[in-house]
């Protein structure tokens, strides 16, 4: 049963990635695109974690942690650039 639930969750997060890509292309302003990228990071972390459950390898969780950190720093840097015109003042 876990196999089917894992497949279902993976399909759900993959569909979410496609919808985020749609918003990334469609987004009227830059802030919408940044929000879509941030949601894509969350979905990709979930996909990496689910893949880690499927394969049983522990190294996937370290990849997820690194992705969480770099995604947060990237989003904040985008927002700082949009707000102030430079990332580090």
């Amino acid at each position: 049963m876990i196999t089917y639930a894992l497949a279902f969750a993976l399909v759900c997060f993959g569909l979410g990635l496609i919808l985020n890509l749609w918003r990334l292309i469609l987004g009227p302003t830059v802030a919408d695109r940044v929000l879509a990228l941030d949601t894509m990071v969350v979905n990709v972390i979930a996909i990496i974690v689910l893949y880690g459950i499927q394969t049983g390898l522990g190294i996937n969780f370290e990849a997820a942690m690194l992705f969480a950190m770099t995604g947060f720093v990237g989003t904040v840097a985008f927002c700082k650039f949009l707000l102030r015109g430079s990332v580090i003042e």
Partner: protein
């Protein structure tokens, strides 16, 4: 025992997937910019949280053992998601698409994201005479 664990893990995974899909669908479906900020927070808290919980249970009961990485990822996501949302709403406000639609603050100062420094000294607690 194993069957109950199967049930718990499957329910967690299905709920996580549904919430993740709902968050991403809300990003498409909602009309306003500020409304669009609301949907992905569900995907990042409930969706990712239940996926990480399922991973923790799976590692603890079936796999090799408890691993701290899931706890760290959950902690990091839960701490950084409000900061990201705050920055994105600031970007929305500063992009000047909301002129005339923002409610007044009720005091002489503007909202603090538009106003650099408050006029006059900050209010202080009353000093005790000794």
């Amino acid at each position: 025992m194993t069957f109950a664990l199967d049930i718990i893990l499957s329910v967690l995974l299905v709920v996580g997937g549904l919430f993740g899909l709902t968050g991403s669908y809300g990003l498409i479906r909602l009309k306003d910019r500020m409304q669009r900020l609301h949907a992905p927070t569900k995907a990042s808290t409930v969706g990712l949280g239940t996926a990480l919980l399922a991973s923790m249970f799976h590692g603890l009961m079936i796999g090799t053992g408890f691993s701290w990485q899931e706890v760290l990822v959950m902690l990091f996501i839960f701490v950084t998601a409000p900061i990201t949302a705050n920055y994105l709403s600031k970007v929305h406000l500063h992009s000047r698409h909301f002129d005339g639609q923002i409610p007044r603050t009720g005091v002489s100062r503007d909202w603090s994201t538009f106003d650099d420094a408050p006029e006059g000294p900050e209010p202080q607690l009353p000093q005790r005479e000794s």
